[in-house]
Symmetry: D2
């Protein structure tokens, strides 16, 4: 019988494991948030975030969950009665829609089957059809954490441009930032929403809005009431490295360290590492004879892989058994797919052996829970990861 001794394998799609360097950076005495020393910290992280969002425009940092940054994007740019276009990519797109609705925003919600990203062609068609230009914003989730599908943001940008539509473009990168290639400026996104507890490898508690000039202009004329989330005062005071209200200083210590780690590894290396680990995970799923929820290979997430359970097997029972026997946390199915899928996170502080340990747990858990599958998933994942420096597979030498 397995025990709960030793390191827990946290393989939910966020919060992701926090590196020791980041934890230790936060584990330091707090300083005066109105001091010159704080201003240096503030400027460093505010500037450092821009590199991660790939923007030269303002990024604001809220002491809040990512949910707060969703709300901030809405209340700073829209008015009650406005219409926006969203795509039903999964549970989190649905939640963002609900928030918009709470603020009186009408959402044209393109239906989806939760097995792919938002479709650029459909978005283009809706925008073209909107002769009155009544759609104020297109709002898309980059990486749908509930399904493991990634929307093609650059193509959606092109669709908006092709339609010649003036709508704002707002993208949720809560679970993609610093894990999947993303370019706020190049893709002319107006508001990029994000959070701390995924690719940034921090605890939850910080959220972000990267803001284009067009979005900033909209924030001066929209009419939703706001205070905590208001961009104007935030951006003004950020210029000196300070915040309009008490910032979450210790989380900012962690952010400074995490940004340094990302820079040391190199963002492109970070992205390719996520791609590599995701490909290995999918190889394992295939070997097990199970199915990846996301049907479009071009949209399968580098961040997490949602795996479909065979019919009449409950994913939550499986996850419970696997946790108890093998000390690993896997993500549950959410909303429509509750009980039908489990999710394997492979984001942030993750490398080959951490992933293979996790996939071993998934595979042994399948056996323990009596879920029909073929063994060999871990072996397939290893084969996928065993690539020589010349890019070729290592031939597995046979013992005579």
């Amino acid at each position: 019988m397995a025990t709960q001794q030793g390191r827990h394998f946290l393989h939910i799609p966020g919060p992701s494991p926090i590196p020791d360097r980041v934890l230790r950076a936060m584990d330091m005495p707090i300083i005066d948030h109105r001091s010159a020393e704080f201003a240096r910290l503030g400027k460093t992280v505010l500037e450092g975030c821009k590199a991660v969002f790939r923007t030269s425009q303002p990024v604001v940092i809220y002491p809040s969950s990512g949910t707060g940054a969703w709300e901030a994007a809405i209340v700073n740019t829209l008015s009650s009665g406005d219409t926006v276009l969203m795509a039903e990519t999964g549970h989190f797109a649905t939640l963002w829609r609900q928030i918009a609705a709470r603020f009186g925003v009408n959402v044209d919600f393109i239906p989806g089957d939760w097995r792919r990203g938002a479709d650029p062609a459909t978005i283009e068609a809706r925008l073209v059809a909107d002769k009155a230009r009544s759609i104020k914003a297109v709002m898309v989730v980059h990486n749908e954490t509930s399904t493991g599908s990634t929307s093609r943001i650059a193509e959606i940008r092109k669709a908006i441009d092709a339609a010649g539509h003036p709508a704002l473009f707002m993208v949720d990168t809560i679970s993609s930032l610093a894990s999947v290639d993303y370019r706020h400026d190049e893709w002319q996104v107006d508001v990029t929403v994000s959070g701390s507890q995924k690719g940034l490898m921090l605890p939850p508690g910080l959220s972000f809005n990267a803001i284009s000039e067009k979005a900033m202009a909209a924030s001066k004329t929209n009419t939703l009431p706001r205070s905590y989330w208001d961009w104007q005062e935030m951006v003004k005071i950020n210029a000196n490295g300070f915040f309009p209200y008490t910032p979450a200083t210790n989380l900012l210590y962690g952010l400074r360290e995490a940004l340094a780690m990302l820079q040391e590894e190199g963002l492109d290396n970070v992205f390719s590492r996520h791609q590599r680990l995701a490909a290995a995970t999918r190889a394992a799923v295939k070997a097990w004879g199970l199915e990846v929820l996301c049907e479009n290979p071009a949209e399968q997430s580098p961040v997490l892989t949602a795996v479909m359970m065979p019919p009449s097997h409950d994913a939550d029972r499986y996850r419970k058994i696997t946790l108890e026997k093998y000390n690993i946390s896997l993500g549950s199915g959410l909303g429509k797919v509750a009980g039908k899928v489990f999710r394997i996170g492979h984001l942030g502080e993750c490398n080959e052996l951490m992933l293979l340990g996790a996939l071993s747990g998934v595979e042994m858990g399948l056996a323990a829970a009596g879920v029909p599958h073929r063994s060999g998933g871990v072996m397939a994942a290893m084969a996928a990861l065993e690539v020589r420096d010349d890019g070729n597979q290592v031939p597995v030498a046979a013992v005579a």
Copy 2:
């Protein structure tokens, strides 16, 4: 010449120093926020908070600064066009008023000179005069962090009752909770607002609303739009130890530890310690020949002491010199009293010798900055603290 070596003396009125136990509790791997282990954490802290607020009613915890909890109190209970009664106790009362105004709430702002707490008699008079019962809420800052004046909440409760007025009673305890005696239920407060970075000895990043049944009822009929701050879903999901969106798990680890520390010391002991340290600080100020900003002895804060600078001496220049020479952070004057006062925090993780070290820095700083004063402040503080177990002063033995 002094150096910046050694431990920094953080004596701003919050964020207060974070105990090592709390820092280390937060410095642990993050767990799945949907796990049974998390539910145990959630229930422990949600329940533990009630003891600190002295309530048996719900306390909700936001991942946000205290400013967010101010906003939460407003958007959950009021509607645009509503009128509320507030008292100008200082800078933070003024900020709370501004937030109310941003949400279309009319504020009847009882003017104040920033040298005392809110006046119960004036509040009673306003409520009595409000024949139409148009005032929806009385909103008071318990401990005004900008001035070091504490409002008499129990008496204000009596004033509201005496007026027979149905207004909600909302109190900001951001800088008083767990430092000054406070009783949400006994004083029939409807919404108590608080934050993590003061008496709770945590980093900033958590805020609180304690909610009466009456306030909860109001939240079902008021019309301000809200999502992040909404009580209904929060309270519903909290029942199982969970949160409607990703909680700031590591801060909750810290909260669990801080609540344990408060319980170990005993809340009443915590309060009397703050009283004792505050009295010693005032003794020092008096000995220096300087003046405490708060004029009413019954309202002088156990949390911080704001000290008035002699005319023509700039408090911020003084603070800068003291920081550079003696490695101590003091609080700046805010708003109306900027440059005119400096503030000494003596809250949270603070004891006699920490305070006396800090007061030594204040006194040496006065000399270094050429601020006219008498020496002997530290000595007076020591005398105030030297109390024998029988409650009598220790006679200072003379050397023959």
Copy 3:
């Protein structure tokens, strides 16, 4: 190409990974080593150690490496010119012999091929042959860290008894304590030597001697000079929870926490966990078509597994490639087997998924280094670990 991002897999046979709880326990302010608070710490750890050594006799704790505790055992009981009996189980037995030699002790060193533990029958034969009773001590390494062979201490005890020989019995448990079943009192060991950085899950820096009455008596008549290692003053002062010289306080904080963790898991569970992980590791080695260095199944170590490289393949080159590609540290071959074996540690803070991650690295490393092997080792290890609660193997369900 793999990166060094993410958690390092430390799978040398010690120092073993330090649990977060232990690291954080040490990360606290130091206290006065002559205070009542320290005495409580001292008594707790001195008493707690006894449970781990399974003794009611004194255990002394040195601020030193395990090497120091080897020396302590010698200088407290032997005199220059004495003869002792040792068995060549591997590199560490050889080192202990060298230390004895440095103090003028003659070592009768039973030769060995480094592929098994010390042989009880041979020891008995030597003792029987020692008619003059000139052998003062039998000194054996319980778990030979260089080879992964465990000597059968209970049987060696019986051998000594069968020979009716009065020699002291001294056992090195540096790498076995708290990982392998061991009983100082029941097996009538006179001096048990140990260290902190293996089964006790601490950093290196503490070492131990558990001391029988017979050994203590010997320490009163032997003639090797000593001070730092002297038992007499240590045991006398330990009675009050103190130490004769400044103790390594922060390591003692860690020891207190580690002892608590061992007690929580239960020593017997700790031992069976090590057995289970070791069996899985050997299953992997077998599947790879490689050979375990230890030839006697009854003596194969629960702590580490030394794996023989195929002829003409250099183990150190293999370890270097595996470290660079997969961020895992494996133990090198030492002494006679340098370059010929690598060692996989599976001790202390280790569980199923940590081990499977590590074995994945070993297997991929074999491929990367071009070492002839069959794949499937990880799969075999998984099969070995997949045991149902009823003790039967889980049948791997076939997908239709």
Copy 4:
């Protein structure tokens, strides 16, 4: 009544408070002590230590208490029957003498009254008188931690030279290194003994020998048996950044950080800070009407101040009361002066306000324990510390 809440004031003369940076540096996963990464660590700390000892010759680092480094100096250079010259400066000189005696070394112990350092003239006279050159070593404690007297090492060097005597010169700097100016090479010291838990601001657990060529040569011919403390193998293996047995890796992480901190502040600044804090402490003692144990102003320690209790007052009772009431640890009297003195540590991680907080505790403790004294000690210490940048005292401005 005072409580034990808040930060403890540790003002014993070592172990000294450990800076957060050092604690956090040690709070990291352990690495393979045979890896290239470890070699970089090893080389950094071995080289960094040389700067602190002001030597270009080898410094060896033991995993042990300072007591071990005392023993190491003896067993590496002397033989049983050798004679050495020592000076009775206090308790620790007496202990070092006992260790020498345990190894059969004859100690010519120059008697002392514990109120001053070792006298260069007396040493010179003894050496001159030793026509047979039978004295093998002069062994002196630089800073006698039990009395607060510092011996004048440079003058003793001159005394040895004046006598033209070939004795080795061995100096204990356990409590002076990195606090008091010290120059291993310039003063031609042959063995400098030190420890980690004082000026180096680390936990106890590391000790040091800095070794001259002459001492190294002696170690090749002396006859005391040794293994753990042996210099030869240590120095040989250190050349590659490694150690002959498992090093205390996490303490070495801390050493790396502490060396960086000392370099950042600058050793000369560190020394003058200690001088300044010691002078302020003595000013307080004088103001209290009490007496400093060390009578020679030129030898009063920058590290600690031993204070004599008035007759018929027990220092340990005083320390106990002060600890209970004010949460401060003071050093006890040791050996001959037990109960007669208490010691105030002001070393390592210490600055003005930390010291003034501590002196406040000492002064209030004197009152609480009914020890006859004048108040005003803290005030006198403040006056001693209040120095303007031009070097002049700040005139205390009178309030009109």
